[in-house]
């Protein structure tokens, strides 16, 4: 681990100012991702600004019905929150499908959103990786790519956002609030993570030095009829091969509205807008579900190793929508 300075932030403005002065500094929340990556020399921050003492906790229902979740809320607390469980089971289930009990007790909402890819080349500092070392190359494209992207990848990077929580938040049209030296600002989940393009080093559109303060989940009338399913290589404590976050509003067998987001298939949680469009107003039947997700995956460009994600996502989405259609 490269030696670094450590300081504990007392207020948001001070934390933001420190990162403004020292662009190589990083915020430290639960540390479950950052500290691992520092040990592996994938991350080499000059300074850690510990944000755990900031007042960024709490899960609050706002006047307009939106739920505001503090950036410091631990994943286990968020998953267990009665409001979340009732209004957005998809979010609770996504969180519970992730990592282990111990990790969820440490992991924060802000840190979870910014967790880095699990591409094995990114994690191994003895190897090339355009995300870790821009311009060094992407060995994954011809190498071990079974878990990597099939949608929106570039010739420079086929990494995925590996997380589960962000997939649910994408389906729920959540908004990420943050603070920079210029003041408060926000990004919708759909524009929070980005595609790698020719700059894979950047995972998100968050401005440099920004401190995430909260995540706002807008009200969703049919949010109670939502779920999350994750396919993986073992039954717990494994990242997704593919996952689906979905919510469905059906009346008399006809879909009034729906949300579908797919995880572990792209550099960002993939909102299945093409499929949603096709299904809105259509009968809630497996053949319609299948046709819609096939249309969504039309632009998929898998490697030989991850081509299985196309039938996997197809079957998962059909299975999940069918489950929601027949509660």
């Amino acid at each position: 681990m490269k030696p670094f300075e450590y300081e504990r932030a007392d207020d948001v403005a001070g934390a933001v100012a420190t990162l403004e002065r020292d662009p190589d500094a990083k915020y430290l929340a639960g540390g479950t991702n950052l500290v691992d990556l520092m040990r592996l020399r994938v991350e080499t921050p000059s300074r850690l600004v510990d944000v755990n003492r900031l007042d960024l906790g709490g899960i609050v229902v706002e006047a307009d019905g939106a739920v505001r979740i503090g950036a410091a809320v631990r994943n286990s607390d968020l998953a267990a929150d009665p409001v979340i469980r009732e209004r957005y089971p998809v979010l609770s289930r996504a969180l519970l499908s992730a990592a282990s009990g111990q990790l969820r007790n440490m992991a924060s909402v802000g840190g979870n959103l910014l967790q880095r890819t699990r591409c094995v080349y990114f994690m191994d500092s003895s190897k090339p990786c355009n995300k870790r070392e821009p311009g060094s190359g992407c060995p994954a494209i011809v190498g071990v790519s079974r878990e990597l992207a099939i949608l929106g990848a570039s010739e420079h990077c086929i990494a995925t956002h590996p997380g589960d929580m962000a997939v649910a938040l994408t389906a729920l049209d959540a908004i990420v609030h943050f603070e920079t030296a210029a003041g408060p600002d926000s990004l919708p989940m759909s524009g929070f993570h980005r595609l790698p393009g020719d700059d894979p080093s950047r995972d998100t559109n968050l401005p440099p030095g920004a401190l995430i303060t909260s995540v706002e989940v807008p009200p969703l009338s049919f949010g109670g009829r939502s779920t999350y399913r994750k396919a993986r290589d073992r039954r717990s404590y494994a990242f997704a091969l593919a996952s689906v976050a979905a919510a469905l509003d059906v009346e008399d067998g006809i879909i009034r509205d729906l949300r579908i987001a797919v995880g572990a298939v792209s550099h960002k949680p993939w909102r299945a807008t093409v499929a949603e469009e096709l299904l809105r107003g259509s009968p809630a039947t497996p053949d319609r579900f299948e046709a819609a997700i096939r249309a969504e995956l039309d632009i998929a460009r898998p490697t030989e190793q991850n081509a299985f994600k196309i039938p996997l996502v197809t079957r998962l989405v059909v299975g999940v929508l069918d489950e929601l259609a027949h509660p």
Binding site: M1, K2, P3, R41, R118, V120, Y121, M123, D124, S125, S126, K127, P139, V142, G143, V144, R146, R229, A231, R232, D233, R234, R235, S236, Y237, A238, F239, L241, P286, D287, E290, F308, P311, L312, R315, L316, V318, G319, V320, D322
Partner: protein
């Protein structure tokens, strides 16, 4: 009452669960110790051009950097993996190129991280295949079996068979991941070397490390009081031992060195990938007329390790025409070595999958097929079995599992999202014993001191040795103080080949019996006691020629998620006939542990090879999956009472490995039954099933 057979708890159990037990990395006072960190090659083959030693030596706290330029000379002992830092040539990605030694662990690690090594890289070849151009037949396969064995006219019999199958089955590279990674503390005291090592055998470590440094084995003192597992990867020294010894020599200080989890895949010895081409032919009654098992695996360019993949096939089923062959290719890879049931484990996955396919092709129940091919004598050695109760295991297993209700049709049982199926497979493992010595002393206060150079790699052998001694001395186990895992004790065999209990227990029994005879002569016991030392070389050499094997049968239910191809195993049943069971509590955890490891082999574990960068790319527990608690549901284990008088005096066959043998085949057979999809390349992950699963809607 006999102590053997009692479910005694581990003697050191409390020490272990309270953290009081010291492992190899924990045994010395921190302030006196230096820390070594291994620097690994980032090329596959070629030469080291330069190593930026000076820049790193300038860092505060760094004491020394050992490279091929300043490492002491090591003798050539025939294992190139141990001849660390002797020259600039690189033979695989991940090979040690330097050891950084520093005052603290953190300093050593960071200095190792920034050490600049420049290379000139050569061509490399890391991909094993059954049609590789450089395949060859080794002289012997591990440890000393015939490479090829041909009896009768296999091809003629296959051509004439009423039912036959011809399929290839593969297993990937699998990594040894005991809880405790390899670790060594080394210190030179004059010309003597003191080692605290995480090893499965301190006698063999002392001998091999002595030979490497050109000193007698007696000049190397090895202790291994507590060892956190091994699976075979600590059955002989790995590079950590000479690296620590070199670091201690060059600094004149005590040095600790341990592997990270990431280093385990390249520096601990792993299970080779294997391919088995299986051809079986049967007559109209399902009697095998021919068995052909052609096995392929890899070794490194530094040491020849030839997995005996087809060896178990030689002893399983009757057939007049039989052929087993082994071919090997030496690649630019780390050396594959032993991993729990080397040979039997991948080979029986192939044979027991093939038997299941034959049963389906012939329309015969898998248990019945095996029953019809039960041999009278060992079909290969043409000698009797010391005992063999595969049929008893299958019958009891079938009863426990409810096999009789099984509908044999594939993909016939769908319950909503789930395709449900069942499968079974046979298990086997040889019952072996090696010569060992033991020393026992009767003290004037009525207590006994037992010294046996066993290693307890978590199995409970310390406890079992005391049980065996208690019976041989006819005293309570608590009257015996036991010392193990110290090379100053009489030489003893390694904790390997499921032979520890038989080998050490035999010596313990002999020493204790001889002591009782001395005591019966009525002499008074002097203050430092009466001591008897015994070795079993003569007894083991005098064993009559018999086929000695344990057998078992495993039954598995799977549920396959039709939306995702994920496989869940709600229950496994294993029934074993392994001679006398010394300690049911400890035995049960060996069987359950090995079956769980077999489950991991079936569903999760795979070293993913990067043929360009030349290594296994997934080398941590986030990417190399072993079963989690959620994967392991109901595992039920039983054993049959089996009396076999042709074994050690205690009558046990060894139980550390048999549980992993056949487990993966039973899972694969159940998946084939559930889905109609036969996966012949482990592991059975969703990608192998998803495209061909039965439709749900």
């Amino acid at each position: 009452m006999s102590a053997i057979g009692a479910s005694l708890a581990r003697i050191e159990g409390i020490e272990k669960v309270t953290g009081a037990a010291d492992y190899a990395y924990e045994t010395t006072a921190e302030q006196e110790t230096l820390y070594g960190w291994v620097v690994q090659s980032s090329i596959v083959t070629g030469r080291i051009l330069d190593i930026g030693v000076d820049a790193v030596l300038a860092l505060p706290g760094v004491v020394e950097v050992v490279t091929w330029r300043n490492a002491p000379h090591l003798e050539d002992t025939g294992d190139g993996e141990l001849n660390v830092l002797q020259h600039a040539i690189i033979s695989y990605r991940g090979q040690p190129v330097a050891v950084v030694i520093a005052e603290t662990l953190e300093t050593a690690r960071e200095a190792a991280n920034v050490l600049e090594v420049s290379y000139s890289a050569g061509e490399s070849d890391v991909l094993m295949s059954p049609d590789h151009l450089r395949l060859y037949a080794p002289d012997k396969v591990n440890p000393a079996f015939e490479t090829d064995s041909v009896i009768g006219e296999v091809d003629v019999a296959l051509a004439d068979a009423v039912t036959s199958i011809d399929h290839s089955y593969s297993t990937p590279a699998l990594f040894n991941n005991p809880m405790e990674p390899h670790a060594t503390t080394a210190e030179w005291q004059g010309g003597r070397l003191e080692l605290v090592d995480s090893t499965q055998g301190s006698s063999v470590t002392a001998e091999q490390i002595g030979a490497l440094f050109g000193i007698p084995g007696e000049a190397v003192h090895v202790r291994a009081e507590h060892v956190g597992g091994g699976f075979g990867s600590k059955g002989s020294p790995r590079p950590n031992v000479p690296l620590a010894a070199i670091a201690a020599k060059i600094t004149g200080r005590r040095v600790k060195l341990a592997y990270t989890r990431q280093m385990m895949s390249s520096l601990a010895g792993y299970r080779t990938p294997t391919v088995s081409r299986m051809r079986l032919g049967a007559d109209a009654d399902g009697r095998l007329t021919a068995i052909s098992h052609e096995a392929f695996s890899q070794t490194s360019t530094l040491f020849e390790f030839a997995e005996q993949t087809a060896e178990a096939t030689r002893h399983m089923y009757a057939a007049p025409n039989r052929r087993t062959t082994h071919r090997l290719v030496a690649l630019d890879v780390p050396t594959p070595r032993w991993m729990r049931a080397p040979g039997e484990c991948p080979g029986m996955y192939a044979l027991e999958s093939a038997m299941d396919e034959l049963a389906a092709a012939a329309g015969i129940d898998p248990i019945e097929l095996r029953r019809r091919n039960e041999p009278e004598r060992d079909p290969e050695l043409d000698v009797p079995y010391s005992s063999r109760d595969l049929i008893g295991c299958m019958e009891r297993g079938a009863e426990l599992f409810g096999w009789a209700e099984r509908d044999p049709r594939p993909a016939a049982h769908i319950d909503g999202r789930w395709a449900i199926g069942t499968g079974m497979a046979a298990s086997t493992y040889p019952a072996m014993a090696q010569p060992s010595g033991a020393v026992v002393t009767a003290m004037p206060d009525g207590r006994y001191r037992l010294g046996i150079n066993a290693t307890d790699i978590g199995t409970g052998s310390r406890t079992v040795m005391r049980q065996i001694a208690a019976d041989a001395l006819d005293v309570e186990p608590e009257a015996i103080d036991i010392r193990i895992a110290d090379s100053n004790l009489p030489k003893a065999s390694v904790a390997g080949g499921s032979s520890g209990t038989a080998s050490w227990g035999w010596a313990v029994t002999k020493a204790c019996r001889e002591l009782r005879i001395s005591l019966q002569t009525g002499m008074t016991i002097p203050p430092d006691g009466i001591t008897v030392t015994a070795t079993t070389d003569a007894e083991i050499a005098a064993q009559e020629e018999l086929s000695r094997h344990a057998f078992g049968a495993q039954f598995v239910e799977v549920r396959v998620d039709l939306d995702s191809g994920e496989v869940v195993v709600p229950r496994m049943v294993g029934v074993f006939a392994a001679g006398r069971i010394m300690n049911p509590r400890l035995a049960r955890s060996q069987f359950i542990g090995a079956m769980t490891m077999g489950l991991g082999m079936a569903l999760h574990e795979v070293g993913e090879l990067d043929t360009v960068l030349g290594d296994y790319a997934n080398h941590d527990f986030a990417t190399y999956h072993i079963p989690a608690c959620a994967d392991v549901k109901d595992i039920r284990v039983e054993w049959l009472d089996e009396e076999d008088t042709h074994l050690s005096p205690m009558g046990g066959k060894g139980i550390g490995e048999i549980g992993i043998v056949g487990a993966a085949a039973a899972v694969a057979n159940a998946v084939a039954h559930a889905t109609g999809i036969r996966v012949r390349d482990l592991p059975i992950q969703p990608d192998k099933l998803i495209a061909d699963l039965p439709a749900r809607f």
